[in-house]
């Protein structure tokens, strides 16, 4: 089949986009649509699954197959699609509450299994749809509708959590930077296995300017640490660099260290320790914060193994025969005529009747 040539509009639906004016979700939507169009892969082969939240409205606006499911469960539902249909490209769109609060368990299990789904976490550090309660990524002390005296929850670091959950692809970007976003989408798409991308997303109504340190014209210059494979980790126009000190990633003035001491970023390291160390450079976008791909390694995907076992079984045992199956536990025949019709025991099953103790 010839690869179709698409424009962004081919991935727009007839549904009116219903986010607040100025919401970061609009930008991310544009980036994703543009990226999809660029792939030139048939539209019908994409599936977008979301949970509940502002972010989770996403599938209504992307003209592919999609499901706006229930709160927190998108990774599980997407796993059902991806594992049974390796021919599809399955994406999960979720929020910081949807993915990390109610959906935390499905997220970490999808990552450890390395199911071939691409997870986009729109992190606005707030519950937007329910109108502004603190979330698992909100900063301590935040006053919200549900924390009038300040939140006392210590937040997750989504990158650290994903790495602790054995994720094979872990990255971070920010809504406003569409090129950077699309670069990461491409990398996630090319990665064989589950991919996790945290996208800083501005909620201008309930948590405005939360990411100003990495988006503000002045601020970002000093705070945005771009992780680039094979390149030394430097930022602030080269003035600052990241080195290891006692096993911890540490920010120093570039000129204060021997260049060879500066960490050269390698996203393909089998051991996630370095990626984890880099994730600890920031605990939220409040100062120097790494963006880019923290980890990108290969590991057999759940889907492949899942379907390989089926294929192998068919090879080895042959396509299943129902008649054989139901007589596999030992059978006997009662032949006409009546009462004492002779019984010929036939094939004796090789497996004992189910018994649940011994």
């Amino acid at each position: 089949m010839t690869t179709p040539s698409y424009t962004r509009s081919d991935f727009q639906t007839d549904q009116e986009v219903r986010w607040c004016p100025g919401c970061g979700d609009y930008t991310i939507l544009a980036s994703v649509q543009q990226f999809l169009a660029g792939l030139g892969r048939p539209r019908e082969e994409f599936v977008f699954i979301s949970g509940i939240g502002c972010a989770a409205r996403f599938p209504y606006y992307v003209d592919t197959y999609g499901m706006h499911s229930i709160h927190g469960r998108a990774p599980a539902i997407a796993s059902g699609v991806a594992t049974t249909r390796p021919d599809l490209s399955v994406w999960v769109v979720t929020g910081d509450g949807d993915a990390l609060s109610i959906g935390g368990n499905h997220l970490i299990h999808a990552l450890r299994r390395n199911v071939n789904i691409k997870i986009l976490l729109f992190n606005n550090q707030i519950y937007g749809l329910t109108k502004g309660q603190y979330s698992p990524t909100s900063e301590p002390g935040k006053t919200t509708k549900s924390s009038p005296f300040g939140s006392i929850d210590y937040p997750f670091n989504p990158i650290s959590l994903a790495l602790g959950a054995e994720a094979t692809f872990v990255a971070r970007t920010v809504d406003m930077d569409r090129n950077h976003t699309q670069k990461l989408l491409q990398a996630a798409y090319e990665h064989n296995g589950s991919a996790f991308i945290e996208i800083y997303q501005n909620c201008n109504v309930f948590n405005d300017k939360a990411f100003i340190q990495v988006t503000g014209k002045e601020e970002r210059v000093h705070n945005r640490i771009d992780l680039e494979h094979g390149k030394p980790v430097v930022f602030d126009g080269g003035a600052k660099a990241v080195i290891f000190r006692e096993g911890q990633a540490t920010v120093v003035n570039s000129n204060s260290v021997d260049p060879s001491a500066i960490i050269v970023h390698d996203e393909t390291r089998p051991d996630p320790s370095v990626a984890f160390a880099l994730s600890r450079l920031s605990h939220g976008p409040y100062g120097p914060t790494p963006l880019g791909i923290f980890r990108n390694v290969d590991r057999p995907t759940y889907d492949e193994e899942f379907n390989r076992q089926v294929a192998t079984a068919k090879e080895k045992q042959g396509e299943g025969d129902l008649a054989k199956l139901i007589s596999s536990r030992g059978t006997w025949t009662v032949s006409d005529p009546g009462p004492n019709g002779s019984k010929e025991p036939s094939s004796n099953g090789s497996k004992a009747p189910a018994n649940s103790e011994e």
């Binding site: 639906t13 197959y65 499901m67 594992t83 042959g318 129902l322 139901i326 011994e358």
Partner: protein, 622 residues
């Protein structure tokens, strides 16, 4: 080797012919009673008896050896006519240790045969079992025909040259008991010996030991003439055909595989282990060559979640659990109902509430199945009434889910799931296929696809699966606009969709068999049941008829919607009795639906009805 057994023993023992007999094996969890029972059962099945079994094991986890909680038992009834239950009081009890005797003796009928492993009756075991005096001495067993056998020593002796040693030696004890019963009840010996050879192929010494113990037990009967009377139960008059002995979990799993063949869709089972449903997962996971995919999820929510995803993707999607797990699935099932995807939800009921009695049968999830979801979300609810019936109902659940694009709840329970019965194998080619038509082409104006444009007969919406060009669409849990499927908050639409969803399910009544009534046509009383009680009900009615009572019986495999003719049937009887292993759940449904004053017989004790309990109630009523 079988010839080593003197099958025609020149003995002075006489043989008593029985139409049925109930045997219970009871011993410590470690004594292999479940295996002994299953072997006795299979041998009897192959011999041609009709039969029904009731395994019974206490907690989910091993109790200390020799204690009451550690007792594991297996009861089987064999007969020369078609029976319906595993029987009430055993005619013969095998007690491998004091705890087993203490726990089970009360059930043995007066004058019944009691076989005791005397070697286990030492001081320690007696105290563990709570005996202050030795029952073998104090005459408390006089009411029974007691056969005392030092099984440990005889087994040791029997296996001494087979090469097994240490702990393994006494493992063959259950085969000794089995051999003795084979003699006592004239069972064929080959099946058991063959089974041992197959089962332990690769461990020749184990085969040898078990066979030796088995023969020793058999010969012990002959040589010692352990009892003057042996028993024989002639083969039953079963409908001709090929039979197998199957339990409900296995039959249900096979039914799902059959449904996969009949529908032409790959089977997906998303679940999380839980007693007593786990064996469905275990069975399905072995049959990947049928294209079966089993997904052991992180929890029940993910279990149903993956199944919903698989349904969206075009699979025959199934999830299964028991009460606590079904509760967790409730929110997701409501989603499946809203987005109208086919999904089978299996609930193998156990004793509740909460963790309750995980290994005991109960029927207390009926109303939960009907109403256990928020919002107006009526679902088809089906119920399996016997191990073999589980095969058929699994297929029915699939047929309905796929034809009407709806989740379907299929109820089983611990008695159906772990009990077994002879099953006349169906001719697989005679099973009615129900191939699925996915949507392939736009169904709307100018090439658009309308996911909620319904089939005018079934009111099912089209099923367009990802990968189908031109049918890209989005569904979700917010109320959908009729036809277009877009999100809609419009009052009239919500009313329309609520009514449509309800009507779609109600209409299934026209696609299921009428309820047929068994027993006397001119009966004064109808006994109505559902699920695993159906056997006891028919058996009880039978007994009542022997006393000249006119009784009709009926069983509901379809609980929502109810069969069209149910109302007329019920109104045609003066009295109606509904026995249930709950506090009266079907009773509530019938009262609300038909405003008929029905009588309930209710038991919530973690065990099935005794036939006698129902018979008594019948007698009391007419």
């Amino acid at each position: 080797m079988a010839d080593e057994i003197a099958t025609e023993s020149p003995s002075s023992t006489s043989t008593e012919a029985l139409d049925k007999v109930v045997v219970r094996f009871a011993g410590d969890s470690g004594d292999g009673m479940q295996v002994a029972g299953s072997r006795f059962t299979d041998a009897s099945a192959l011999f041609g008896n009709d039969l029904a079994t009731l395994p019974n094991f206490p907690a989910e986890i091993r109790a200390p050896a020799g204690t009451l909680p550690g007792v594991s038992s297996f009861q089987v009834q064999i007969a020369d006519f078609d029976i319906l239950t595993a029987g009430d009081a055993p005619d013969c009890l095998v007690a491998m240790n004091p705890a087993a005797l203490m726990k089970e003796l009360k059930d043995l009928r007066q004058g019944g045969t009691l076989i005791i492993n005397t070697d286990a009756f030492d001081e320690r075991n007696l105290t563990k079992a709570g005996y202050t005096k030795d029952p073998l001495e104090d005459g408390s067993l006089d009411a029974y025909r007691t056969i005392k056998v030092p099984m440990d020593s005889l087994t040791k002796e029997a296996v001494k040259d087979t090469g097994v040693s240490g702990r393994s030696v006494l493992r063959s004890k259950n085969f000794f008991a089995l051999g003795l019963l084979a003699w006592l009840f004239h069972r064929p010996t080959e099946p058991t010996i063959q089974w041992a050879e197959k089962k332990f192929a690769g461990k020749p010494e184990v085969v040898a030991a078990n066979v030796a113990a088995f023969k020793a037990g058999y010969n012990f009967g002959i040589t010692t003439e352990a009892t003057k009377i042996t028993f024989e139960v002639k083969p039953a008059t079963l409908r001709p055909g090929t039979y197998t002995n199957v339990n409900g979990n296995t039959a249900l799993a096979w039914g799902l595989i059959a449904a996969s063949k009949l529908s032409g869709l790959p089977l997906f089972y998303g679940t999380y282990p839980i007693t007593p449903a786990s064996d469905i997962l275990h069975e399905l996971s072995r049959h990947k060559n049928f294209g079966v995919r089993t997904f052991q999820a992180e929890d029940e929510i993910a279990g149903v979640g993956t199944a919903i995803g698989a349904a969206f993707a075009g699979n025959l999607a199934v999830t299964g659990s028991s009460g606590p797990g079904i509760a967790l699935k409730s929110e997701a099932i409501s989603l499946a109902f809203m987005i109208e995807l086919p999904l089978i939800v299996i609930n193998v009921q156990r004793g509740g509430p909460s963790t309750g009695l995980p290994t005991k049968p109960e029927q207390s999830d009926l109303l939960f199945s009907l109403y256990g979801r928020h919002g107006e979300s009526p679902l088809p609810v089906l119920s399996a009434s016997s191990p073999a019936n589980a095969f058929d109902m699994a297929i029915e659940a699939a047929r309905i889910a796929l034809k009407y694009m709806t989740p379907v709840i299929l109820l089983s329970d611990n008695y159906v799931a772990n009990g077994s019965e002879p099953w006349l194998l169906p001719d697989v080619n005679s099973l009615e296929p129900f191939p699925v038509e996915f949507a392939r082409f736009p169904n709307g104006p100018d090439g658009s696809f309308l996911p909620y444009m319904r089939n005018i007969e079934t009111f099912a919406r089209p099923w367009a699966i990802p990968g189908t060009a031109g049918l890209e669409h989005r569904i979700g849990g917010l109320e959908k606009e009729s036809i277009s499927g877009n999100v809609s908050y419009e009052p009239g639409n919500h009313q329309l969709m609520t009514d449509t969803r309800a009507w779609k399910v109600a209409n299934i009544a026209n696609d299921i068999p009428d309820m047929d009534v068994g027993g006397d046509q001119d009966a004064d009383l109808l006994v109505l049941g559902w699920g695993s009680t159906s056997g006891s009900i028919r058996a009880a009615a039978r007994r009542a008829r022997l006393d000249g009572k006119k009784v009709a019986t009926a069983n509901l495999n379809y609980i929502n919607p109810l069969p069209n003719n149910l109302g007329d049937v019920l109104r045609s009887y003066e009295k109606i009795l509904i026995p249930e292993l709950n506090t009266g759940q079907l009773l509530k449904v019938i009262r609300a639906e038909f405003l008929i004053d029905v009588t309930g017989l209710n038991k919530v004790a973690g065990e099935p009805f005794k036939v006698s309990e129902i018979t008594e109630k019948i007698m009391e009523m007419i």
